[in-house]
């Protein structure tokens, strides 16, 4: 069984890394020659070639990082608010929890399509609403405009994954002991103070886990970018870049090199997190 897992996950990864050192093309993937690091960076005829010399790649890296930072921050704040609301006892809580969960269950592609329609430049409901409220004077082409396209992608992601964030934070909230709050209430501490002085420090571990999970997920974003703006360079993510080289341009070598870089970035984040977690555990153990 473990062999299956290794085969299913490990083997393709190993092959991808191997391809990144070859000149394989999609049509003749079997016959390829070893080319060393040429796909990453090469000096040929007076110019630099390879993924690392491609401005579009760096643009996609920047896009992905920006997307991850912005969307995960918004999701954390919104998720926290929703989790605090869900932590209260009120009639209809079960139903409310189910409602909150719905966006999470809708396939990403479909939620991207729904938002795509709502953000439509001429007939979209978002423009209509904003114009009725007098916030904008003329309709905005959300997904076509370079300034707003990335926000559209962030919007879709926030809508879809905030529930996940809220649930993870809620699980952390529910593990907190009640007597602490009882004591704070008796002492007449202001609720806002309670939140920042008691709740936030106590759920920090759960919060960190949620943030890390979401960030790793956001770094490999593909679906909503592909559907909302296809391959526009303003919003291209690392995953979209790699797939474009691989499938559209048929360049398995270059695409694999980009994919390997994506993998390395995410692996690096995982390793750093694990080391940090272990260090903190070590500290806690010494005390």
């Amino acid at each position: 069984m473990l062999l299956t897992l290794l085969l299913v996950a490990g083997w393709p990864l190993a092959r991808t890394i191997w391809f990144s050192f070859t000149d394989a093309r999609l049509g003749r993937i079997g016959e390829n020659a070893f080319v060393g690091f040429d796909n990453y960076l090469a000096y040929f005829d007076g110019q630099w070639l390879g993924v690392l010399a491609d401005g579009l790649w760096w643009q996609s890296v920047w896009n992905t990082v920006w997307f991850t930072l912005v969307s995960v921050s918004i999701e954390t704040v919104l998720g926290m608010i929703i989790a605090l609301a869900l932590n209260q006892v009120f009639p209809g809580r079960g139903l409310f929890r189910a409602i909150v969960l719905i966006p999470w269950a809708i396939p990403t592609v479909i939620s991207a399509r729904m938002w795509n329609w709502m953000l439509h430049d001429q007939f979209g409901v978002v423009n209509d609403l904003l114009m009725k409220l007098g916030l904008i004077a003329a309709p905005i082409a959300w997904t076509a405009n370079a300034d707003t396209a990335m926000w559209a992608v962030v919007m879709v992601d926030v809508w879809k994954t905030t529930p996940f964030m809220a649930l993870l934070i809620l699980a952390g909230l529910q593990m907190l002991p009640d007597d602490l709050y009882e004591a704070a209430r008796v002492d007449g501490v202001h609720p806002v103070r309670v939140f920042f002085r008691i709740t936030l420090p106590l759920i920090r571990p759960a919060l960190m886990v949620a943030i890390i999970f979401r960030s790793l997920d956001a770094l490999r974003v593909f679906d909503q970018v592909y559907v909302l703006t296809s391959a526009a360079s303003d919003t291209m993510s690392m995953s979209v870049y790699a797939r474009q080289e691989l499938v559209e341009f048929q360049d398995v070598g270059l695409g694999s090199a980009a994919a390997t870089l994506v993998f390395l970035v995410i692996a690096l984040v995982i390793v750093v997190t694990l080391v940090a977690a272990r260090l903190r555990l070590g500290e806690a153990g010494e005390r």
């Binding site: 269950a105 990403t108 994919a259």
Partner: protein, 277 residues
Amino acid sequence: MRWRRRLGRIGFWLLIAAITVFALFPFYYAVISSFRAGSDLFTVAYWPEAFDPSNYAAVFQRQPFGRNIANSIAVAAAVVTLSLVLSLTAAYSLGRVRFRGRTTLLFTILSVSMFPQVAVLSGLFELIRVFGLYNSLPGLVLANLILTLPFTVWVLTTFMRELPKELEEAAIVDGAGPWTLVWRVFLPLMGPAVVTTGLLAFIVAWNEFLFALTFTLSDEKRTVPVAIALMSGASAYELPWGNIMAASVVVTLPVVVLVLVFQRRIVSGLTAGAVKG
């Protein structure tokens, strides 16, 4: 003091209402749009005024959408079954049998679930070509297993660890082998956990896009997300929005029902996968 509390109550309910609207509006708007056909669609409406099912008819006539749904169901069902069978066996060995490097192995499995999908794309592409599974449903099942197996193994292992050891010992004394143990003793006890994990695996397989987009070629082999993403009209600027919304509603409805019915289990499964780790 009293009016302040009342104000707080009102504020709280306003917050709940705002979150509900935020969560439901896109879906609601897709539903009302899907029932508006022709030029109707090009005026913004907030309330369900029209009830024209022609978009729904068009979706099924203009492309093999019924076939796409059947594909999605077949792939998701196969993925759920395979990953449950495989991960139950794995969870037994990981949760019960002690061996060296068990924790490392568990963490490796967890990190596999954090893999970026593109990283395995070209390797998997070759594998699928070699097996002759390109543009076929079994190929998609194989690809999706990469996504589901790590977390089904992880969640089932955490559940397995919580079961009392005495039960297992009693069964072994009674002469049960490992196979009987897993299928006769653990499976009935883990029923709820298995349902939860199965549901999560189903949702993942149902939503999967990148593999399905890359490993299929013809309309008849596509799964629903790919079919909806590639739906286009006469030109790139003339997307058939009514049809797209109708298709989206058809596909989303079962998932929404699943969530409403099983929300408690989904929540427990999601948090077990993340927090207990």
